[in-house]
């Protein structure tokens, strides 16, 4: 990567100045002994190992459980910045829910010609089984993780909407716990907005979305694919923190038109299922017949209005990367306002002109699979070898509609604590959003992912990224 390029650093202004949000932190940091910090950093790692905060990497049989590296320099966001960001996120999430309701009902947006029909009708993420189905409380995306990147003082972009099953919230919570344990003095000097209410809020928010016919206190459960899933730690962590059962498909069955879990005292009805299993695997009777992860018949129970599935099946259409490029229009269509948060410029390779442009500028662009996630199957042009570019171009020409391209963004950097002192690394941000009929709530901050390799723009944990605690300052 060319290092002569100038990036916006969120902490450092030149060699001995810091940006305002970091002023207090810098005072503390300047007086810290680097060897003490190194020691703390090792302690943090031991703590993560002991508590089992690990994730599984697919395709790596030997080292099945890995740690996500944690960096002890916090990413700090000013209150003013956060207020604007959270307004923008709220607007976007509102629009996404309206959009989902619309395309599974009257499809006004298609009639108005704002989004092309083929993009929906030919999209694998569009679930015909959801047509005409209204989820309890009309909430489609109960939990959203909007990926935000920054390129300058006031330049925030939405990179992805993650309307299916965003993960990472357990790291947000554990990172803060770790920081509180390691540096309690920091939190008495600097007023940081707390994040620890998230599990309580999540439970309340899910309970508020229970089916109408649920009387009494709703029973909430988390559905996990099991201990071999890459995010299993998070599933069990959230179940534990919320005080709800963590179930697998084989714990559940349909009993008298409801979904019930097998307990030591017989079957007990579940009202709200926070599922961390993809749509395809949710119900072998309605989707992939060979799936062992889901519950046969759950879609029928759902359509009958006897269970809430969070997020609703079929929400994946809203974070489809081909649809992403229409988000500014979608936001405006449903809210009547201009989108507060910007989209990254996107070329849809399905369009002939765009494809030609992308092929010509492949070495400058980031190309992603339309349905991909986790950083798999993407090309970072500037970092790719000639050979990689050629072979990717061939793939692209073979199946252009499977790809979109974006400019290589000059992602902002935040320093990490490296052996030789502070070293700037690229970051992104995933705030976590909860939606219920009572409203939208966003936990201040979110998960900051950081590319630990110098110059790297890929922050995904599956590709060697790390995380940072994220602070939103009180006013």
């Amino acid at each position: 990567m060319p290092s002569e390029r100038q990036y916006f650093d969120e902490m450092l202004l030149g060699s001995d100045n810091v940006r305002v949000p970091y002023a207090e932190y810098q005072k503390w940091f300047a007086n810290e002994d680097p060897t003490r910090l190194s020691k703390k950093s090792k302690e943090a790692e031991a703590f993560f190992r002991r508590t089992g905060i690990t994730f599984n990497v697919y395709g790596q049989a030997a080292a099945q459980e890995r740690l996500i590296p944690f960096d002890l320099i916090p990413r700090i966001i000013a209150n003013r910045e956060w207020t604007k960001l959270s307004k923008g996120i709220e607007q976007r999430v509102q629009a996404i829910n309206a959009f989902l309701h619309d395309i599974y009902h009257r499809q006004e947006i298609l009639r108005a010609g704002v989004v092309p029909v083929e993009l929906i009708s030919r999209n694998e993420a569009f679930l015909p089984q959801m047509i005409g189905v209204t989820p309890p409380g009309s909430v489609y995306t109960h939990i959203v993780g909007t990926d935000i990147v920054r390129t300058g003082e006031d330049d925030f972009f939405v990179l992805e909407d993650n309307a299916r099953t965003p993960s990472g919230v357990s790291y947000m919570l554990e990172n803060r716990e770790t920081m509180l344990q390691m540096f309690p003095e920091l939190f008495s000097q600097i007023k940081v907005q707390p994040v620890s209410d998230y599990p309580k809020n999540l439970r309340r928010s899910l309970a508020a979305c229970a089916p109408d016919n649920c009387t009494g206190k709703p029973t909430v459960a988390i559905l996990t694919p099991g201990i071999h899933n890459s995010a299993y730690f998070e599933h069990s962590f959230l179940a534990d923190q919320m005080g709800v059962e963590l179930v697998e498909g084989h714990d559940l069955r349909v009993v008298d038109g409801h979904i019930a879990m097998r307990t030591t005292e017989g079957y007990k009805v579940i009202d709200v299922l926070y599922r961390r299993v993809d749509d395809d695997y949710l119900d072998p009777l309605n989707f992939k017949p060979e799936s062992m992860l889901g519950v046969p018949g759950i879609m029928d129970v759902y359509r009958a209005g006897n269970i809430t599935i969070a997020n609703a099946p079929g929400t994946g259409i809203a974070d489809d990367k081909a649809l992403y490029s229409y988000m500014p229009e979608i936001v405006e269509f449903y809210t009547g306002e201009k989108a507060i948060l910007k989209n990254v410029q996107t070329w849809r390779c399905s369009e002939t002109d765009s494809l030609a442009y992308v092929l010509e500028h492949l070495a400058e662009l980031v190309v992603k699979e339309v349905h991909g996630s986790g950083g798999y199957g993407m090309l970072v042009g500037p970092a790719a070898s000639k050979k990689e570019l050629t072979s990717f171009a061939a793939k692209l020409q073979k199946n252009p509609s499977n790809y979109i391209a974006q400019p290589t963004l000059s992602l902002s950097t935040v320093p990490i604590f490296a052996k030789k002192g502070l070293a700037p690394r690229h970051v992104d941000l995933r705030p976590f959003v909860l939606v219920s009929p009572k409203g939208i709530s966003i936990t201040p901050g979110g998960l900051t992912r950081v590319a630990l390799k110098d110059g790297s723009l890929v922050v995904n944990s599956s590709q060697g990224g790390g995380t940072k605690d994220t602070w939103v300052l009180e006013d």
């Binding site: 508590t51 201990i227 179930v247 714990d251 097998r262 307990t263 005292e265």
Partner: protein, 313 residues
């Protein structure tokens, strides 16, 4: 509680108990082979038999060399009862039931797993064996301590206890079963130096050589040893003790859930049987028959519990 969670807790604690028992067998075998026996190979052979892994061991090795037996029992991942396999399975179950455990218990299990994986990474040399065995013991003590100190006494706790004592009773019974002939009053070598070695091996395999001496002022007769292992309700590895704890915990569940199930009938029957027995009536019935029947009943109770509390769908 989910049936699966109950099952996970039960198996987690069976495997933890198993890893400790296997380590104890190795410890006893090592000590006897080292200090007393003229025929170490036959000692190691009976250790392998007691661990219930004779056929898989024989398939892999010829003869009963100490190094092979120790390796097979402590660190062979193809042996499902080895310490490393048992701790791996205990930890997998713990991950599955993570939400039912306190942080302290989870961390103790996770640290056991990390510590033992490291300690058992390479073949254990004879000089290191005592230290490694000590570490295994310490880890299980930590888990047990965390249990005692932090877990609510509810159905979660009951299932952990049930798993523990079922596994433990099975282990003690198998130890008696393998060496039952040395405990018979008719044993031809009674009074010889040999019997004392055999009895001490048995007592060491259940870490009871000292408590036995304290209680029996060093009167070591086969009947006294057998009585101690089977009927002494003070000794936490005796069949009677395990059976009592099992009964207690099953009764807590019955009370909690407001329902008695077939497993309760079975434990009542077992308790009655043990209460009516003296060591003399056991010898009259036949020690071997008694032990075989106990092992069978103990397994049957375990299976009934799995069914009654819906461990699997």
């Amino acid at each position: 509680m989910l049936g699966k969670t109950a099952g996970g807790l039960y198996w987690m604690f069976r495997f933890l108990e198993r890893s400790e028992n296997t380590a104890r067998l190795v410890e006893a075998g090592f000590r006897i082979a080292l200090t007393r026996s003229k025929d170490p190979a036959s000692e190691w052979k009976s250790v392998v038999t007691t661990a219930g892994v004779r056929s898989s061991y024989d398939a892999k090795y010829d003869g009963y060399m100490a190094a092979n037996v120790v390796d097979f029992l402590l660190r062979d991942t193809t042996n499902p009862s080895s310490v490393i396999s048992a701790i791996e399975k205990a930890r997998t179950n713990a991950r599955m039931v993570r939400t039912a455990l306190t942080t302290e218990v989870w961390e103790a299990v996770n640290e056991s797993w990390m510590g033992l994986k490291e300690a058992l990474k390479k073949p254990i040399r004879e000089t290191e064996l005592p230290a490694v065995l000590g570490e295994i013991r310490r880890h299980s003590a930590l888990v047990r301590g965390a249990m005692q100190g932090t877990m609510l006494r509810n159905d979660i706790y009951d299932f952990t206890q049930i798993g523990t004592v079922l596994e433990r009773a099975d282990n003690t019974a198998r130890i008696i079963d393998v060496k039952y002939y040395t405990l018979l009053p008719t044993a031809s070598f009674v009074g010889s130096a040999l019997d004392n070695v055999q009895w001490e091996t048995i007592l060491r395999s259940v870490s009871a050589h000292r408590s036995f001496r304290w209680l029996n002022s060093d009167e070591m007769t086969p009947a006294a040893v057998a009585e101690f292992l089977i009927l002494d309700s003070r000794f936490p590895r005796s069949l009677s003790f395990c059976s009592r704890i099992l009964e207690e915990n099953l009764n807590y569940l019955a009370k909690d859930y407001g329902i008695r199930l077939p497993c309760h009938e079975m434990i009542d029957a077992q308790r009655d049987k043990l209460r009516q027995q003296t060591i003399d009536t056991i010898f009259d019935e036949g020690l071997h028959q008694f032990i075989t029947a106990f092992i069978r009943d103990n397994n049957a109770i375990g299976q009934q519990i799995e069914q009654d509390y819906r461990f699997i769908g």
